[in-house]
Structures are given as C-alpha cells and as structure tokens.
Subunit: 348 residues, 2 copies
C-alpha cells in the first residue's frame, strides 16, 4: 500500500495509538445520541434502547480480496460500504438504525490515515441515519484485512418486515434499479471506464445507499414482508418465496434495469438478475398496501416503487420462480444465490 | 486440515448447507429464551431486552495463526473460546449475557464437522450462561479463518463496573490465578507436555471460564470498577489506573501465581504479569465493599477474591504502577499491554 503524505505506518502508531485516533474521530462526530450511555473506552459499550422496542441485530463482514480490493476502493468508501451493507439489513426489517460496533482486522502495512479514513466513511454514513459507532476491537490479520460491523436498530413489535409474511396475490416490488453495482464490479475487473454511466455504476458498487427510510415507510404503510437485494433478485426472491411458501412470477418488461446497463453490457440481464449487491429492498404488498406505499414514498419525495411481479400459492407445494418474457413466453428461472464456497465472480 | 470420518468439505456442502446445519444446532440447543423474538433466518435477528435495562455490547475477533492454530486447539474449544472472551468483557461490566451474533470467515478447506463443532462449543458455553447465538454471517476468508463474536448483555443503570470509577484507598483484587493461560501457550509453542499441571494450563488457554457470576456479584455487592485481564495485569491495570487517574501499588507476595507455574517456568513472573488471557476479573473496592464481596462469593461457593494491592492518588498527577517485592524493595513496573501491531509472542 502507498503511504499518503502525513500518514504513518500503523506498526509505528501501534494499536493503542490507533484506538486513540479512532476515538477522537468518533467523539468529534456530531451524531445525535440515540440512547448511547457509554462509547469506546471500557470493556463494553452501553446503549439504552427506547422502552418497548425490540432490537434488530445484524453482522456483515468484508474480507480483503474476497469483498474488496485496495486498488478498487478508497478507505472512506470502504467504511461507508461496511456500514451500509448492515444498515441495508436493518432497513429490510423496517428497523431504525441506532448503534454499531466494528471489528477491524489489519494486515499491519496500512497507514493510520487509511484507518482513520475508513472510520470517517462510516461516521459520515452513520450521521445520515443517526447511527453511532460505539465500540469495537482492532486485531492483527496479516493475511487479509477484514471489517466486521455489527449494527443495531429498533423495531416496534408487529411492525416488522419478515421474509415469511408474504401473501398470495401480493405484488412483488423493488425500491430502485437493478444491475448497477454488478456493472460497477464488471468495469473494475475489466479495468476500463469506457461505458456510458460508469460513474453511477462505480458509485453503486463502492458506496451503496441503504434504503433505511424506504424500510421505515414500508413498515409504516403496512407492508409485512421484505428482503434486501444483496445476492441479486434470483438469489434473494427465492429465499423470501421459500420462507413464505409462495411462487413468484416476474415480468421481464417491468424489471428496472437502467439503460446504461442494457446498452453497456450484452449480458445485462445476468447483471440485473444475479449480479447482486444492489441493496435495494424487495417487498411484497397487497394492491391496497402498495397504493399506500406509493403515497408514502411520494410524500417523502422518494422515487416510486417498481412493481415487477406477483406471488401465488405454489402448485404441488413447491415454490417456483417464473418470468414472463418480452415475447410473452413464460420461462422458469434457475434460482440460486451466490455461494461463498462455490465462487463465481470475484471480488464481491 | 484433516477430514474426520463422516465429515464433508464445506466446498461441497456450500454456504447455504452450512447455514442449515448451524441453524439446526442452534435451534436444538436448550438455551432459555432471554427475550429472543427472531433467530437465524431473516435479514436480522430480533431481541427484546427487559424494560429499563441497558444493553452492553462487545465484539472480539479471533484470527487464525494470530489468535489460534488448528493444531493447537480443537473446534469445540475454539468455539468456546470465541464466545468466552466476549462473555468476559460482559462480566467485566457486571452485565448479564443474553444474545450473541457470530461472523465466521472460512478458508474453504474446513470440513462441515469442524464448523458444526465450533458452534457446538459456543452453544455449550452459551447454555451455561443462558446466552443464545441468534444470528450471524458466513463469508469466505481464504487467507485465514476468522471468528468474530458480538455479545450482548443487560445491565441495570448505576450497577455497572467501569474502568473510571476506582477510588483512592481502594483494594485492588483479582478473582483467580494468574499465568496459567500464558503457561499453556508456552507449552504449546515448545511442543512439550512435560510440565506439572500442564492439563490445567492448556485448559486455561483453550477454554477459559468467563467470570460472569463473579461480575454480577461484584456489581450487586457495590463494586463500581473492574476490568477483565485479557492483556495481563501490567496491560490492564494501567488502563484502569489511567481511566480513574490513580496509582497502584502491588504486593509481589500476594500475586496468585499457581505453584505449577512458579515451578515450571523460570520467568513465571513474566507469565503472570504480562502473559495475558487469564480472563480473571480485576476489581477495585473499599475495604467494606471488599468484605461484602467476600461474603457474596462465599455464599455462591466461589473461590475467595485475592487482594493484591491498593490504589492511591498519583503524585504529580501521573498514575504509576509500583510493586513491593518479597525483599521489601519497591520497584516501578514497566507497564504496557500487548500491541497487535508490535507483536511479541505469537499466537495469542
């Protein structure tokens, strides 16, 4: 790794120097407190959830080479991303993000600046959603850097977006475009930027926007089933269908694939359906509830949700995923999420 | 890694097969619920803390080669250890452990059996302290396996063991022997078992007992300041002294170093003072409170706490750590915790 001017190797700063620097960044951030009793500096952090709330807990880990490469992503974006993938899980439960702890494994050749920028990226995203980093640990991981974030949100009992609560005849909808993040990865692995719309694709990969407000509005509008699209539509929709024991039919024409992705990549459908890491929410709602969601989104000036299909009771009790193509043919889709131990496309 | 009979490589079982197997282990464990609303299987886990309680949150990560080696520790002990180091942090706050989430990074050459045994080790320890593993993720980490556990406990406001609440004239005490775990590491790195008491030393290293009940009793007895001994007495006591702005004087004669450690290792004092990972609690209490702690420990049939020194206001406002040696000399101790980026002794 290159050392920027003014940056020092962490082998010189040391673990405790780093912790001091990080504490300073966390303390000086202006994130509103959200019940934080005790932050960094003791054996544990302390947080007081609001009365009657349930705590949604999620953890996601990014591993060097597997999930990120230093030459593909800067430290601030990486910090943003590490928190964003967790906030996306909270959003998919309809939870309000509150506090996070971070476990950082460092190779030892990083600079202090890199570590601080990583935290700055997390703090900046946290600020947007009133989420504070209140603790963590730093360990040596000489073989590959890792960033593991555990995020905590609050939910109201009964107002939760679960995978197993979808109903027959529900509309299947998504909160935004599909395929941009995968296109970003493709651009980086090909090493070319000569694709129209490349900046948006790279941004979608490097610094995804967790759909926190969308999740809260869905829950408030009466939606009870959702999942976030981290493994791609054909990875995640089947999980929801299996949990709810329902089949889904998708309309090819309805898929919100940006023109830049369609024009830039011959296999754009693969990127949109299986690419993954779009971190949009997929949700299921009755037509009346969907109508209310549209109203809520409009009121908050969010882009409208996109209906992409419907759910139905499965024949023979085996949930299936079919797609009606542009030429009106109906095809059965081969489902399957990315399996970390049967890799396809690195890094992701 | 060797494959045991009946075990399958995880590249064959796949991520989702593994998750299914792990869910089965977690579901079939008889851990009492402690407010768990939703376990593994959705975007997040859901947990309802009891009314008015604060949530203590801590995360600790073990990295292959740095913190463990497959030929030094079996999977079940490793699972125990990964949870134990976190429960120890909760104990050091006086918190009651409740739920944990686990992020597992696997090289890909592990067997499914190894992964399941790891979880069995966690579940077995969790059962002892009514702590449930309610979620997590599994990622590929081809360069080195990692286990990151985030544990959550409940505390009552005001009944917390903090580092910055020690008082002048407090007695400094520990809950158990020092140096056993470091002796265990020494035995493993030397590859010899010809030390009296080796089994206890190896057990102390592989499967430390978090002092959860001790922590709860300390808090109930009125103690307000403690820390767990993960970095060794000379690593952790200075942190507490710095946070409370106090000096400490230790009595060499009072140090609870087992005879097996004294007799087995010429540098036994180094092991006891700097070895670390004993995971005993170090606490500070007025003589009256210390008396009450002794009563509480007796009532619960715990070994009595061991007073090892006293605290005082620092001269010139600079906290110092001194030791009165057996020959009555007073020496100033060189403090300092293990720094992950300036390593001394691997693995730990």
């Amino acid at each position: 790794m290159q050392m920027a001017a003014g940056a020092r190797p962490i082998s010189e700063v040391g673990e405790f120097g780093l912790i001091e620097g990080i504490s300073h960044i966390l303390d000086s951030s202006r994130v509103r407190s959200s019940g934080v009793v005790l932050g960094v500096g003791d054996d544990t952090a302390l947080w007081q959830p609001r009365p009657g709330r349930q705590v949604a807990i999620t953890v996601d880990t990014l591993v060097e080479v597997v999930h990120f490469r230093h030459d593909w992503i800067d430290a601030e974006s990486l910090g943003h991303r590490a928190l964003a993938v967790n906030l996306s899980d909270l959003a998919a439960m309809g939870a309000r993000p509150r506090v996070a702890v971070v476990s950082l494994g460092l190779r030892g050749n990083e600079s202090d600046r890199w570590v601080y920028d990583l935290y700055r990226g997390m703090v900046a995203l946290g600020q947007r959603w009133h989420t504070r980093v209140i603790g963590g640990d730093i360990v040596s991981a000489p073989a590959a850097a890792t960033i593991s974030v555990t995020a905590h949100g609050e939910t109201r009992p009964g107002r939760i977006l679960r995978r197993d609560q979808a109903q027959p005849q529900d509309i299947v909808a998504v909160t935004g475009p599909l395929g941009l993040a995968a296109a970003g990865v493709r651009i980086l692995s090909a090493g070319t930027l000569r694709v129209d719309g490349a900046p948006a694709m790279l941004r979608a990969h490097r610094a995804p926007s967790p759909r926190v407000l969308h999740g809260l509005l869905l829950a408030a509008a009466g939606v009870r089933s959702a999942i976030d699209l981290s493994d791609g539509l054909l990875g995640d929709l089947p999980k929801l269908c299996a949990a709810s024991n329902l089949s889904a039919q998708i309309e090819e024409d309805a898929l919100p694939v940006p023109r830049s992705v369609r024009w830039g990549f011959a296999d754009w459908q693969e990127l949109a359906l299986r690419g993954g890491e779009d971190f949009e929410l997929l949700f299921c709602a009755s037509p009346e509830t969907f109508e209310r969601v549209q109203q809520f989104f409009r009121r908050f000036r969010l882009a409208p949700p996109i209906a992409i299909g419907t759910l139905s009771r499965p024949k023979d009790d085996v949930p299936k995923l079919t797609m009606r193509c542009t030429d009106q043919r109906r095809i059965e889709l081969e489902t399957g999420a990315y399996d970390h131990f049967k890799p396809r496309d690195a890094p992701r």
